[in-house]
């Protein structure tokens, strides 16, 4: 069997509105293998969370998957009914969100929440489940587990709470974890602990991880591959060192240049002029063309795509064909 855990093909997510259909995710394809961390970056509104939510089956209506498919270790999951999807979500895909409180019930002790989740997905009895809960809490680095297991969520710090959420996501030993900005609300020292934990899980259990964040530093130190999104589309995907060091898409190049350096002194940061278009005003052709200094006629007419295979490349006419003129080298 192949080791592809997540296989997203030509995913399209739409929001029907009174003024027309908004396309929040436009023809995204990506794969994550066993033990691999795929970072997903892009600015606010680029469609990162919508992609994650589609995989988790948590798109809120009227949002819907309008085209494409999602397979988990070979099984199609995007067309499952709610009940079947709920089972997949608990057992085979774990979710970690930015705010740990969305995943924890404030009225129940964390130990009870862990035990309940473990029992839902395994056939351990109450005692065994409690032991397993303690093991998980230890694994994610909660000190003094015997004392902390009967505490309520609000009695933990933000970083500790996020670790409990990770423990909760691990209860059923999922094949895939979707982590949407898991460390954005946390301090650097706690952030480093959480990302180290994710990396260890990946290595030791072979879990596949989709890590959504806008922090390129975190991506550089955590992800194996990275996907860059812009206005609902995938603009670049590849090995993390390639995308960070040798970005090909003009948007990725601009993004890298706009990050203040920890070493180099510059008077002015590089800027990408303008702003990402709203969903109701995406220009024809390449969505980046109004901001791109290299744009040409072809960019305004035809949508560039990541070349076949989907595992590396840039959705840019210039990067792919060396020209932005129409019809040439196509």
């Amino acid at each position: 069997m192949s080791d592809v855990v997540l296989d997203v093909r030509n995913l399209r997510v739409e929001f029907p509105t009174r003024k027309g259909v908004l396309v929040a995710v436009d023809d995204i394809s990506l794969q994550i293998r066993r033990g691999e961390i795929l970072g997903v970056v892009g600015e606010s509104g680029a469609g990162k969370s919508m992609t994650g939510m589609s995989i988790l089956g948590l798109l809120e209506p009227p949002g819907r998957i309008a085209a494409g498919s999602i397979h988990l270790s070979g099984d199609r999951i995007d067309d499952l009914d709610d009940r079947a999807m709920q089972a997949v979500r608990g057992r085979r895909i774990g979710a970690i969100f930015q705010d740990p409180l969305t995943s924890l019930n404030p009225l129940f002790r964390v130990g009870d929440q862990l035990v309940e989740t473990i029992r839902l997905h395994t056939d351990l009895d109450k005692r065994q489940a409690r032991d397993r809960a303690k093991d998980l809490m230890r694994e994610v680095g909660i000190p003094a587990v015997e004392e902390r297991i009967d505490s309520y969520p609000h009695q933990f710090s933000g970083g500790m709470r996020q670790r409990i959420v990770i423990a909760l996501a691990l209860c059923a030993e999922p094949e895939l974890i979707v982590a949407d900005e898991p460390t954005t609300a946390l301090d650097v020292s706690i952030q480093a602990q959480i990302t180290a934990l994710l990396k260890r899980l990946c290595r030791e259990r072979g879990t596949a991880v989709m890590l959504v964040t806008h922090d390129m530093g975190v991506i550089a130190e955590t992800a194996d591959r990275v996907a860059v999104m812009y206005a609902g589309r995938l603009v670049e995907i590849g090995k993390v060192e390639d995308v960070v060091r040798r970005p090909q898409h003009p948007y990725t190049i601009g993004l890298m240049g706009s990050i203040p350096s920890l070493r180099k002194d510059v008077e002015e940061l590089q800027m990408i002029p303008g702003a990402m278009p709203r969903l109701n005003a995406i220009p024809p052709g390449c969505a980046f063309n109004p901001r791109c200094t290299q744009a040409g006629p072809r960019c305004r007419a035809e949508v560039p795509r990541i070349p076949g295979g989907h595992s590396t490349g840039a959705a840019c006419w210039l990067a792919q064909t060396g020209t932005v003129e129409k019809g040439e080298a196509a």
């Binding site: 600015e43 606010s44 301090d187 952030q191 130190e221 990050i259 203040p260 920890l262």
Partner: protein, 324 residues
């Protein structure tokens, strides 16, 4: 502290305590004592005219409280703040540009407000000409004045806050995490704008951020805070080249590094302790790799180690065990 002729702000032994006791009745029933939290615990620094001093440190270390003390939104519980400028020309920019802009006002009215407060006699035509000019200064168009805040993106909203702050003809700007809510590409636009305005108008900034790469880009001097105190203060280049306090080193070692990623870094353990009951002695000692006996009992004061380089740490001061 000596008064320096070029200092626009001098902060001396500044303290701010908060009463975080349970309500009176609960205290009576549960026999709990009063509890105070020292959000700012003996802080001093000066800022020179036209320069940027940055406060960095992890969540809850007291950065915003200092910002509020300097702008007068909080009264100090001890120490003093001497501002050698015009109080009316001290403005603030907040982290969340949406929460700080009145959603029911059009942008032109929002920007005009400080101007109307500063000079109520200004004729309407002049006010609106000034608003148009400010909108252009921050990279927006005069027509944007007719819109409401919700019609703008995050970066544009932060530009509106900056335009509003500039309308008060500031000489001193307190900026509390001005780009933390923004995307990096938008952040670059706002930071470049702030630097340009500083040069053109000789502005002084008290700049607060938890992002060390942003602070490195913006600040002349950096003060590193931990649990309400400044543990180290140095000119920017020196702080990065030769951090003296173990906590500063921890911070510098922990930030994810885009240019030289450390993919197998071992994260430093421990969390920031509660500011209500900080550890005795040096409050960093439970997490400090260099801690020795004295650190658990005595509190290190901030001494000048070298000129303009001050650090509150026994090890750094004594050239103690294992210090560069």
């Amino acid at each position: 502290m000596t008064l320096r002729p070029d200092a626009i702000l001098e902060v001396d032994a500044l303290e701010r305590r908060f009463d975080v006791s349970a309500p009176w009745l609960n205290r009576l029933i549960e026999r709990k004592p009063r509890r105070t939290l020292r959000a700012v615990d003996g802080v001093d620094f000066i800022i020179r005219r036209g320069q940027t001093l940055a406060l960095v440190g992890e969540s809850g270390c007291g950065k915003s409280t200092i910002a509020k003390l300097v702008t007068g939104l909080h009264a100090p519980s001890g120490g003093n703040i001497r501002f050698h400028g015009d109080r009316d020309r001290l403005q603030m920019i907040f982290q969340d540009p949406f929460a700080s802009l009145n959603p029911r006002w059009r942008v032109a009215r929002i920007i005009a407000e400080p101007l109307r407060t500063l000079r109520p006699e200004t004729p309407e035509a002049e006010v609106s000409a000034r608003v148009d000019e400010l909108l252009r200064t921050v990279g927006l168009a005069p027509a944007d004045g007719l819109k409401f805040p919700h019609e703008f993106s995050g970066g544009q909203r932060q530009r509106i806050s900056i335009a509003r702050a500039l309308a008060g003809e500031p000489e001193f700007l307190v900026c509390d995490e001005p780009t933390s809510a923004l995307d990096v590409s938008v952040q670059a636009q706002v930071l470049n704008l702030m630097k340009r305005l500083q040069k053109e108008m000789e502005l002084t900034y008290l700049f607060i951020s938890h992002d060390l790469s942003v602070v490195r880009h913006m600040a002349d001097v950096i003060a590193v805070m931990y649990l309400g105190r400044i543990v180290e203060i140095q000119p920017t280049a020196d702080l990065f080249a030769n951090p003296l306090h173990p906590y500063t080193r921890l911070l510098l070692e922990t930030i994810p590094d885009l240019e030289a990623p450390k993919r197998d870094r071992a994260p430093m353990g421990g969390e920031v302790p509660s500011p209500v009951s900080p550890p005795p002695g040096c409050s960093f000692h439970p997490r400090c790799p260099l801690a020795f006996e004295r650190c658990k009992q005595e509190r290190p004061e901030r001494r000048s180690h070298v000129h303009n380089r001050r650090v509150a740490c026994f090890a750094a001061e004594e050239g103690g065990p294992d210090v560069r």
